[in-house]
């Protein structure tokens, strides 16, 4: 079982454009962030993962100056995020933000561009975000996906050095999502840093240079995709078996065992000992499949263990 202590972040490649250092933040009865370190380097996509309530939104809001940190240090381009000069170099797309419905896309773009000293041309924004033909349309009349794209355009229009993208492709179809990924990659290639939150783990795998996993206000894991995945070296064993999952879950070396689609799915640190035991326990075992676990499973594992630990503590209480 992974230790619950915070994990030190490996050194990023370039100097951090923004950072949280040992930030604590309490909201009501909940400790939203419990000693978080986060660094956002230039030219890289940092994916922030976590379950609902893990602290992702709080972390972003603190970086944007929407919330104060109770303790710890927040830096945005070397200044405090409440400094307008610092925010002039960022672009933001917030999942919960809804833009004024009665304004046209072109008007929203003009307004947002006016806040930046050297904004991108309107044509550029349209091209990057895929807004063709949408400029004269009122925001409220657009589909969910189109609205997302408008918000993306607003995030880019100021030629930011650091982009905060909160669930940027939710609601987009495959084609639109690909377009956004393409845009993000080209920006990153220009040296723009990106903080991305997503619950599409394949998005994180596809885009992210670095992954930070937050759980219950703490950094559970941080590093490249491969590193994080490897941190939780897991194998996924899938088979058809009569063995009950809850029994298998208690075997040593087994992270988790579930029945998924009538098949027993076992997550184990090392596949071989578990395989042997399975085969011993159930000679009738069939449809055997062994895979390297993906980020999704790593993620689930990380966050599930904490839930289980919390759950068992609760039961004991």
């Amino acid at each position: 079982m992974p230790s619950p202590a915070p994990i030190p972040t490996p050194e990023p490649h370039g100097p951090a454009l923004a950072s949280l250092s040992a930030v604590h933040r309490r909201r009501g009865p909940v400790q939203a962030l419990d000693g978080v370190d986060l660094a956002l380097p230039a030219g890289q996509v940092t994916a922030l993962l976590g379950a609902n309530g893990a602290g992702k939104t709080t972390a972003i809001e603190i970086l944007l100056g929407l919330q104060p940190a109770d303790t710890g240090e927040v830096r945005l381009f070397g200044r405090h995020p409440s400094d307008l000069a610092a925010r002039r170099r960022i672009g933001v797309m917030l999942q919960q933000a809804q833009l004024p419905e009665r304004l046209q896309v072109g008007e929203l773009l003009a307004l947002t561009r006016s806040w930046y000293p050297q904004p991108r041309s309107v044509a550029d924004c349209v091209a990057l975000a895929g807004l063709d033909g949408l400029l004269p349309r009122r925001y409220g009349r657009l589909s969910g996906g189109q609205q997302r794209r408008v918000q993306f355009a607003l995030a880019l229009c100021g030629r930011p050095r650091l982009l905060f993208l909160d669930e940027p492709t939710t609601g987009l179809d495959i084609g639109a999502r690909q377009q956004v990924w393409h845009a993000i990659r080209s920006l990153v290639a220009d040296g723009v840093g990106v903080l991305l939150t997503t619950h599409y783990l394949e998005e994180a795998e596809a885009l992210a240079d670095r992954v930070v996993v937050l759980d219950a206000g703490r950094v559970r894991a941080a590093g490249s995709v491969g590193e994080v995945r490897a941190q939780v070296a897991q194998r996924r064993i899938r088979c058809t078996s009569i063995l009950p999952a809850d029994v298998v879950a208690t075997w040593p070396g087994v992270r988790a065992a579930n029945i998924v689609d009538d098949q027993l799915v076992v997550m184990a640190e090392h596949a071989e000992p578990v395989l042997r035991r399975l085969l011993d326990a159930d000679p009738q075992l069939g449809d055997l499949e062994v895979q390297r676990a993906g980020l999704a499973e790593a993620f689930v594992a990380m966050t599930t263990t904490a839930d289980v630990m919390a759950g068992s503590r609760q039961e004991a209480a």
Binding site: P68, A69, D70, T71, E73, H80, S82
Partner: protein, 617 residues
Amino acid sequence: MTQENGYRQRRWPAVAAVVALVAVLGVAVAVAGRQQATDSTAKPATDGTFAIRNARIFDGVEVIERGTVLVRDGLIEAVAADVAVPDGITVVDADGKTLLPGLIDAHVHAWGDAQQDMLRFGVTTALDMHGMPERLPALRTQRESTAPGAQADLWAAGYAVTAPGGHGTQYGFPVPTVDADTDIPAFIAARVAEGDDFIKLIVEDLSGYASGRTLPTLDAAQVRAVVDAAHAHDRIAVAHVSTQSSAREVLDAGIDGFVHVADDAVVDDAFVADVARRDVFVVPTLVVIASVAGSDAGRTLAQDSALSPWLTPEQRDSLGARMSTAPKPQRLADAIDSVRRLHAAGATILAGSDAPNAGTAQGASLHGELALLVQAGLTPRQALVAATSAPAARFGIVDRGRIAPGLRADLVLVDGNPLDDITATRRIHTVWKNGARVERTKPAAALAAGAVPGDTRISDFETGLDAGFGSWAPTTDQMAGGASTVAHARIEGGANGSAGALSVAGEIKTGFAFPWSGVIFFPAAQAMQPADLSSRGELVFRVRGDGRRYNALLFSGASPTAMPAMQGFEAGSEWAEVRLPLSGFAGADLSQVRGIAWTAGQPEGTFAFALDDVELR
């Protein structure tokens, strides 16, 4: 917890904001409430019980240099240098001020707001010399009431007694007259039955004025009969005269008082002696004689800083107006001289203004009269007697006119000492009527004359009676008691082949002395509201009619009831353009034009004309 980022908010600004909000609203309610309270306590106390202390008191006859007056329930209880004032009574400290009895104006003509206007100037009672008898019972009731009032009380003559067509019949209401066949005792009995408090007769044939006109008037025998009949009914008889000869005639007929001093010459010694011997009183009305004489006395009075703020626009207008007769300064000099002689001989002089004739105003002019009486030789004290105890005594008014126990608390408190400087009567501090303090309110400033749109075209009657600005209305002498009629309407066929014109047709009938009938154009949003036409120079219109001569009347000035200025025009059988320069309306105030009328006048009979293309260029 650190606060390196400044998000932590200190609590005190929010608390301060809420506290400030609550505090200021509380203060607002308190202050406004107090304001309303003082307003209501400022109303005249209906208590009627109070004391005035440390005043110089002129009681109607004598002066107490420093004394106290105690009023209880609206009546004077005590007047002396030294009066014990019970505890708990409101005390007015009158140090440096003089208390007078409420002033009495011995010659007025009162209608409209006259009684309020007078009271504002400290005149609490007046003698009305000619009016309708219907109001006499109400006047009696009012002056017998002890309730707090906002008006001066009146004793009245009812109809003045005059000959048919004589002076007094021209004021727009029918007056019963005395001719050769009238049964005078019955006539006077009828007048007394109507409620006349005294009988006033008029002897006026205009011979004292060089106008060339003569009016019919009572002859000596008739005057004698009227005086006798009045005495038979226990009424005094007073007379309007304007010549020495008519004054002599009336004096010989046994009159009790003159309500003018004849100003055609200075009184002769024999007249003075007889007046004094027979104890006939004289109300000189010097202020109206000053106006006839063409002096600026009225205008000067209007500008007196003690009086001016309390004058209504109508009063100001009245004081500034001039009698239409040609100025004759000698008349005033003669009248003053006459008063000097009469007074020296011991005749009783009473103060009266003959308001509201041109050059005078109710109430204010009595103060002017007091000054003229002093100029004519009366001492200030004697002038004050002439406005207080003397008229009360001569007209049989027993409950006022002096400050004495048991009399009505009609009082005027003025700043300074009118016994030294008679003009101190104008500096009124407080007026009490029936023991209650009178709330004197400064009249609101006249409504500013409105601007009118720049159109020169008023109406062309193409589709109707609409006008570029303003409105049209019929106007006849019926509003003054006459009987003339008019009908106005748009008709087809106007000047220069235009589509429409305004037809005005009607009949002039007898009834009012100066009949008129026609249409009137009001330039402002409301009838008779002033409008500023000073930028215009000419009234232009097209007219055709029955060949009669018509008048264009321009109503202007501070008062809606002032006489209009007039220019005539002919209405021939063909359309013709008439251009009347606005400067040709003599005496008009073009910055306050209230109406322009096109009317027919004398002679009686039907008339008809049509107007078109009316413009003010």
